[in-house]
């Protein structure tokens, strides 16, 4: 099978600065023009194409990037990622309906709340490893949903209705059905998240996470403050999930506990694994495919989920490390020739 990852990396490494800028701008432009492709083969039957692009596609991509920091980079199996998404969404729902704050003012609060939740969960949970950590986080995801289901102020099973749309920004109006605007807004957040992850990966934090993922005991014995970096991974992952939650609530304008089930955690996890754990481009691709596919094949009606499952099973057999796995290339030969 062709190795897309290496082809991409080669192209990137062999280009100079102007070429790189051009590649980045061209890719952003291509992605930003996706909402105009509704008339092509990309169109989804039944569901509105543009709304599918916003939710689930862009939402899944953003959350998968966040979860990838936790699972792909640091190797911490988090099965309750939906909790941070829910906390962001409920922060938006509650403050948006009860106070005069608008989406952009609530956004930092929502992110902070999720990060705080990540810290609260992380401090006790990150003393555990592997399966035990997975079980604790799984429980946390359920706890958050059940609290929302039982607290009067959070609307119990009816949830929160009439959440306001974001106010205009730079003269752009956010109408309930202006999917394109929401898509571009999410794109900005996705780009920010990509920037953050790529920046951190190349520096000290990235190496610390990588060493923890591969052998935590050795990392600690070689002076890596493992607990601190695991908490950071959790908190940063939570911040991205929280941001996604705030935006989700201001898009759907109605949230209920049923939007935040374990199934979301598992689907996002599937995006990360399917795309290629640890490789941000793989994770994005995985999220796009898994979010888009079920709506694209909706004409199959009943057989839809069966086909979806089959695709997953076949792909994981063909590419067990994901669509674009993380493995780095070896550059030894190139370096030798130079010296």
């Amino acid at each position: 099978m062709i190795n897309l990852r290496d082809k991409g990396a080669e192209l990137w490494e062999n280009s100079g600065r102007p070429a790189r800028v051009a590649i980045v701008l061209a890719s952003i432009a291509a992605v930003a023009s996706l909402p105009f492709m509704g008339g092509t083969i990309l169109n989804t039957p039944v569901a509105s194409y543009e709304s599918v692009l916003v939710n689930p596609v862009a939402m899944f991509v953003l959350m998968a990037i966040g979860l990838n920091i936790v699972i792909g980079k640091s190797g911490l199996l988090d099965l309750g990622y939906v909790a941070f998404f829910a906390i962001g969404a409920y922060t938006m729902g509650l403050l948006g309906t009860k106070t005069d704050l608008n989406t952009w003012e609530i956004l930092p609060i929502g992110i902070a709340m999720s990060m705080f939740a990540g810290l609260i969960l992380g401090v006790p949970a990150l003393k555990l490893r592997g399966d035990y950590l997975a079980i604790i986080t799984l429980g946390f995801g359920e706890i958050v949903r059940i609290i929302a289901l039982n607290l009067q102020v959070l609307g119990r099973a009816e949830g929160i209705q009439n959440i306001p749309t974001p106010p205009p920004i730079f003269g752009v109006e956010y109408a309930f059905d202006s999917h394109r605007i929401y898509f571009w807004t999410l794109l900005v957040f996705i780009l920010l998240a990509i920037w953050m992850v790529r920046r951190l990966s190349a520096r000290r934090a990235g190496r610390a996470w990588e060493s923890i993922r591969q052998d935590e005991d050795v990392a600690e014995l070689l002076g890596v403050p493992t607990f601190k970096y695991k908490i950071w991974a959790f908190v940063l992952g939570a911040s991205v999930g929280g941001a996604a939650g705030v935006l989700y609530a201001s898009k759907t304008l109605y949230i209920a506990p049923d939007n935040f089930t374990l199934q979301i955690s598992i689907l996002i996890l599937a995006c990360v694994v399917f795309g290629g754990m640890g490789n941000i481009w793989g994770v994005i691709l995985g999220a796009v495919v898994l979010a888009y596919l079920p709506d694209r094949i909706r004409f199959l009606s009943e057989a839809r989920l069966l086909v979806f499952g089959l695709v997953l099973v076949i792909m994981m057999n063909l590419r067990p490390d994901g669509l674009l796995p993380r493995k780095k290339r070896e550059k030894a030969l190139v370096t030798k020739e130079k010296s």
Binding site: R204, R207, Q214, E220, L221, L222, G223, E330, A332
Partner: protein
């Protein structure tokens, strides 16, 4: 007399009913190469594990530069100046050699995660400096040409040496080497002896576990012998070779001797 760098006093380590170390005391002096030998299961690696904080002592005390190591977090022990290699190679296989060493040099960085994120000058400066330092260490150990190769794809001998380079990356005062020559051929062993001496001349103190007697006797200034968790000898290499208790531990006693 100089202050010992590392000092073990009446160190006892029990795992349930098994006594792995029984009342072991010895000092490591600054700038020396101390060999630590003994038959299989004598407790040599356990000594490394109690020094680096993997196990908590049952009783006794370990002090490094006069400061007790009891209850200290493992990464803090490393930061105070003790680094080790592993008997069964435990590199981070999916990272390059350079990254393996850089992760260790990060130990002494001042810039944290956020300054890295926002590209603060301090982070960029440290990144550059540490990269140069890591390459320097790889060159020092003699594996500089492998810097861009993934650790898991390296030849066995290079992996062993990368373990040493990585430990040196934490800028230790005391370097603990756990069987660095395991699996080496005679030529490689000669080279390793040379490397260990160079490490000492560069100002590090070395505590060396090794099964290869000729290597230990050649490079060590002093040798401590363990048998069944007890120290049975602590002397110059020449005296150790003639010590009847050491010979007994390794070869046993003839039946008609007692």
């Amino acid at each position: 007399m100089t202050e010992p760098l590392l000092s073990l006093k009446n160190v006892t380590m029990k795992f349930g009913g098994v006594t792995a170390l029984n009342d072991v005391s010895f000092d490591v002096k600054p700038q020396e190469i101390l060999g630590l030998i003994g038959p299989n299961g004598a407790g040599k690696t356990t000594i490394f594990n109690v020094i680096t904080g993997v196990y908590q002592l049952t009783s006794g005390a370990i002090s490094f530069e006069g400061e007790s190591l009891a209850g200290k977090k493992r990464y803090k022990i490393t930061r105070s100046g003790v680094a080790r290699t592993f008997q069964n190679i435990r590199l981070w296989g999916d990272m390059t050699s350079l990254e393996n060493v850089m992760t260790a040099t990060d130990t002494h960085k001042k810039s944290g995660l956020l300054s890295g994120l926002f590209g603060m000058p301090i982070s960029r400066r440290e990144e550059k400096r540490d990269k140069a330092r890591a390459q320097e260490l790889l060159d020092f150990i003699g594996i500089g040409e492998y810097s861009d190769r993934l650790a898991k794809n390296l030849p066995y001998g290079v992996q062993r040496r990368l373990e040493i380079a990585r430990a040196l990356g934490t800028e230790p005062k005391l370097l603990l080497l756990d069987e660095p020559a395991a699996g080496f051929n005679p030529a490689e062993k000669v080279e390793l002896a040379e490397t260990i001496r160079r490490i000492r001349y560069a100002g590090y103190t070395v505590l060396l576990i090794e099964h290869d007697m000729s290597l230990v006797m050649k490079v060590s200034d002093r040798v401590v012998v363990l048998d069944f968790g007890q120290k049975i000898a602590d002397d110059l290499p020449k005296a150790i070779q003639e010590d009847p208790r050491v010979i007994e531990a390794y070869l046993g006693v003839p039946e008609n001797a007692s």
